[in-house]
């Protein structure tokens, strides 16, 4: 049972790290603000989601697991809102100063 949980953890966290790597490469390489944001949201949503998924089998009790899920949901909300704000700002002409 613990072997299965560990395998799931390793697989999910590795996949999550891959998305973070891909997101960072995209952030550095993509040509404009909107595509860079697109790359970043992949890291935030999928990468962080997979890492939380991977950590769930390791949490000692249900309450800690739920806290992890709440953290993931809050990061989703914050990330999505911040991306929208940056995108709106960029589409209105970007930083004026």
């Amino acid at each position: 049972m613990s072997l299965m949980a560990d395998t799931l953890t390793i697989a999910a966290v590795s996949a999550g790290l891959f998305f973070f790597l891909a997101g960072t490469v995209g952030l550095l390489r993509f040509p404009d603000t909107l595509t860079r944001l697109h790359a970043l949201t992949k890291a935030d949503n999928l990468g962080f989601g997979l890492i939380v998924l991977g950590l769930l089998p390791q949490s000692p009790d249900v309450a800690s697991g739920l806290k992890l899920v709440v953290v993931w949901l809050l990061v989703q909300l914050a990330g999505a809102s911040a991306s929208q704000l940056i995108a709106q700002f960029a589409s209105k002409g970007g930083p004026s100063a």
């Binding site: 914050a78 929208q84 209105k92």
Partner: protein
Amino acid sequence: MSLLPDFALMLLILIAAVWTVSARDRRDSVIGFIVVGLLLSLAWIRLNSVDVALTEAAVGGGATGLLLLRACARLGPNETEGVSLKVSLRILTGVLCTVVAVALATIVLYPIEPAPTLAPTAAAHMGEIGLGNPVTVVLLAYRAIDTLLEKVVLVLALIGVWALTPDPLWGGAPGSLRAQHSSGPLTFLAQVLPPVGIVIGVYLIWNGADRPGGTFQGGTVLAAMWLLVMMADLREPPEIRLHTLRRLVVLGPVVFLVAGFAGFWIANGFLSYPPDLAKPIIVLVEAALALSIAVILGMLVAGPAARAPR
């Protein structure tokens, strides 16, 4: 092997710090400062100081960063270039920083053996106070006078900001915190997040008795929720002449002082608590302090009055 992440973190902090100091644009350096704050809070977690990490993230990165960003927005773009220190002042700053760095390095590399510590004594008496978080015990029982003065300083800071109000506007409301363009996502966030944020803030305050957390962290989260609502223009900042607002500002220090003076009668001196009542008193003081911190931080960011009282 386990030191590798720590070295990476140290390198990142140094890079971010150098970038913050050398950034040309004022706003860039404020953003660098916020990044340094977040990285430092990770470093505190690596040192197992979760209380300090939470404070650093909430106050060092979050609240201070927001204050500095507001200050940047307040200063005109013309004032950006005017900041150039004299060479002698730069050299003096460099020398002082080097002295501090060398002193810290000496202490870390050649520690006194055994290190002077009050930790065993502090831990031995925790049971008498009935709290499980040693940091809260030190802040509110052993060194309560420091904590009290800290909160009074916050009130003084707010009075200082309010004192910048021009005479005709005295008593009015601070300028609107609204963003230049109204934004659907921001309004949505300001409607969805506060209920969750308030629960988390109260949880941090309540949790502070036995586990990492506390008044300052929880109060800052509450202030952040209030500021979010003001920035999304769902609520205007209140007028600074309002008595309710002013009572909330001094509530925390007043409750703390009353509890302190009560110590003369119910225990053996200023700011000492009778053992069986210690926990209820501390929790009451913490709740009042957190409320005051939230209001003070919110009004500090909102700034001096910018509109005449209605």
